[in-house]
Symmetry: C2
Subunit: 377 residues, 2 copies
């Protein structure tokens, strides 16, 4: 059996025991809320992880790219929600999935999109079910639910050939910048807005089967989710330092790390250089906005044991420079040239995107499997 | 012929006419300095670009990963400098390249690395030529040239089986945070340090054929480079908004851009949403440190014409939110749903890393070729 110590670095390590704990935790949370999960596949982008999610009761997956949709469908997941506003010229690829037997739902938030998607779908000989994204808090995208705009868009979808009205959704992404209390309040604001919108649409005689809410931290902290039909959470599967910094997990819940090798030691500068830099970790510095700034990541021994106080302070394209947050001397005895270390990422999605595959372990340094990712678009 | 307007987005566009101007510019600059170029292949990671660089007089390539080394060698480039401190367990892959006929030089900055690399090379039945990285300014990595450390390391390399002494190098990366005047001064500091080190090593009777200096801005602004045997510049091939912000190029010299599609329009928020987000652009925010903060990138029409004042203000994983820097209304008439736009990147290396290939154009929106990248490690 291959061990982590024999791998070329940098490479991506996934501990499937830690991941399974996270999957079980959120599945239990969803049961507690009484709402099924449609986990966001943009985090793992992987067939085997999807299998674990479905086994834990997921009703399907959410995706952020069509390559994910195609990958998950090939892996046997049939119910797919592409939760990014649909560019009209992507209709043909969704039509091909539907023709092959997938249930794919698209997303819209503007009448021009509905008309263009419908026209393209008719040309492709398909009908695309579309949900409407509601902009509840001005965070990102979606239709503001005012002045009858939602009712009007739902009516347009009903009357446009090539599309069908699937329901409504919102994204509580602002919960990423929240305290636990604020995230709970945000979740309730979204829930009420979705329930209100659902009632007004059905009052028009338009069936609205999907009422979808997303974001891991808001779901974790929500007091209730009744009226919502599915929860789109993604990052909880792997967790990361940003989720830990905002109280959504513990550091020991982080399931992915970047295996790297010490290639430079400079006791005079209290610096260690590793072969994982900006490309290997991503340039995500999200924890800098929190009280737990981890630089580009926290540092563990090859067996996953955290080296307290050690972090990746700076990067260039292929180099990471390790230091201590306190300024105390680095544990140079554990960091000789050639030593392998594991770096926990700020943002698992961004870091994992640089890798074609996961080297899977299960609590030890033995590699038990290699799982491929669906990267790109 | 395919046009950009028919491509699925996000995708990466390379204008080879702009690139050729950049290649010719730096080739002329190198001739002016009287020192040949060994361009850094970590920017393009592509065989066809390497062909253009060699045709313009390059003596070989610099690489930052072994996958680049393997890719460039397969593309016919024989002289390769792997300019990242060599992890001892990467020796076998270099040995395989050498056995196949490549001239690959590795990099070291510590005696422990020399001993481990030598031992592994002997086991593999190969001899790895290694250069020593000098740390001139504490910027990143390398050996401080004091107390005889360089002479001692050169002697160790000479006397260690499995390695051979190839020369010395330094990296003027601090020039990325400099004014033009400071970059010129930095280049001269590095040059003098390298020339001094070269003289002391040769005085010991150790031949030192390679005296290698790198960084595009420092090379552009250097007053002289005599005594240096090769220049390692990379980013100039594509240029980017950060290089423009520090005065190393003009915005119209930027050869790569991300083609994306408008998927949301919100005149009430003065916002346009495109399907290129943090993964498509990278999270590199390097221009924020300059007086020309471009957010996540500047926005052009599909034909490459800059839309003045429009930039990508924020991103999520797959969404980019466009705004104006002045707060003036966005040109919504040019940004309807489905419109294709091109985003110029802050850092071309980081942005290009998300893509498997370039869609190549030559001043128009016609795609004339698809060129593959050597991603990963």
């Amino acid at each position: 059996m291959t061990g982590l110590s024999s791998l070329q670095t940098p490479t991506l390590v996934l501990d499937r025991l830690t991941m399974q704990r996270n999957i079980d935790m959120m599945a239990a949370r969803a049961r507690e809320l009484g709402v099924p999960l449609r986990p966001h596949g943009k985090t793992p982008k992987n067939a085997e992880v999807a299998g674990q999610l479905m086994a834990a009761g997921a009703i399907g997956v959410t995706v952020s790219t069509l390559r994910e949709a195609e990958g998950y469908f090939a892996a046997g997941v049939h119910d797919i929600f592409y939760a990014v506003a649909l560019a009209p010229d992507k209709v043909a690829r969704i039509g091909a999935l539907i023709a092959a037997g997938a249930n794919v739902t698209g997303l819209v938030d503007h009448p021009d999109a509905v008309r263009a998607i419908g026209a393209n779908a008719v040309q492709c000989g398909t009908v695309i079910p579309v949900a409407v994204e509601l902009d509840i808090d001005g965070y990102r995208s979606g239709l503001p639910d005012r002045d009858g705009a939602l009712e009007s868009l739902a009516g347009l979808i009903q009357s446009t050939a090539g599309v069908g009205f699937a329901g409504i959704m919102s994204y509580g992404g602002a919960s990423y910048g929240c305290t636990v209390e604020q995230a709970r309040a945000l979740a309730e604001t979204h829930r009420q807005a979705l329930v209100s919108a659902h009632g007004r649409i059905e009052a028009l005689g338009i069936p609205c089967p999907m009422v979808s809410f997303g974001s891991s931290p808001a779901t974790l902290h929500a007091a209730r989710m009744d009226g919502v039909t599915e929860l789109r959470c993604g990052i909880y599967v792997f967790q990361d330092l940003f989720q830990a910094a905002i109280g959504a997990c513990r550091i020991e819940d982080i399931a992915v790390s970047v295996l790297c090798t010490v290639i430079g030691i400079r006791p005079d500068l209290n610096r260690v250089v590793v072969d994982a830099g900006g490309l290997a970790m991503s340039k995500d510095l999200s924890t800098a906005r929190t009280s737990s700034d981890a630089g580009y990541g926290l540092v563990c021994a090859i067996d996953g044991t955290l080296l307290p106080d050690v972090y990746m302070a700076t990067t260039s394209q292929e180099l990471g420079l390790l230091a201590t947050r306190s300024g105390a001397p680095l544990p140079f005895a554990q960091m000789g040239i050639g030593t392998k270390l594991r770096i926990l990422p700020n943002h698992a999605d961004m870091t994992a995107a640089a890798y074609e595959q996961y080297h899977v372990v299960a609590g030890t340094t033995d590699v038990t499997a290699i799982w491929r990712r669906f990267n790109g678009w």
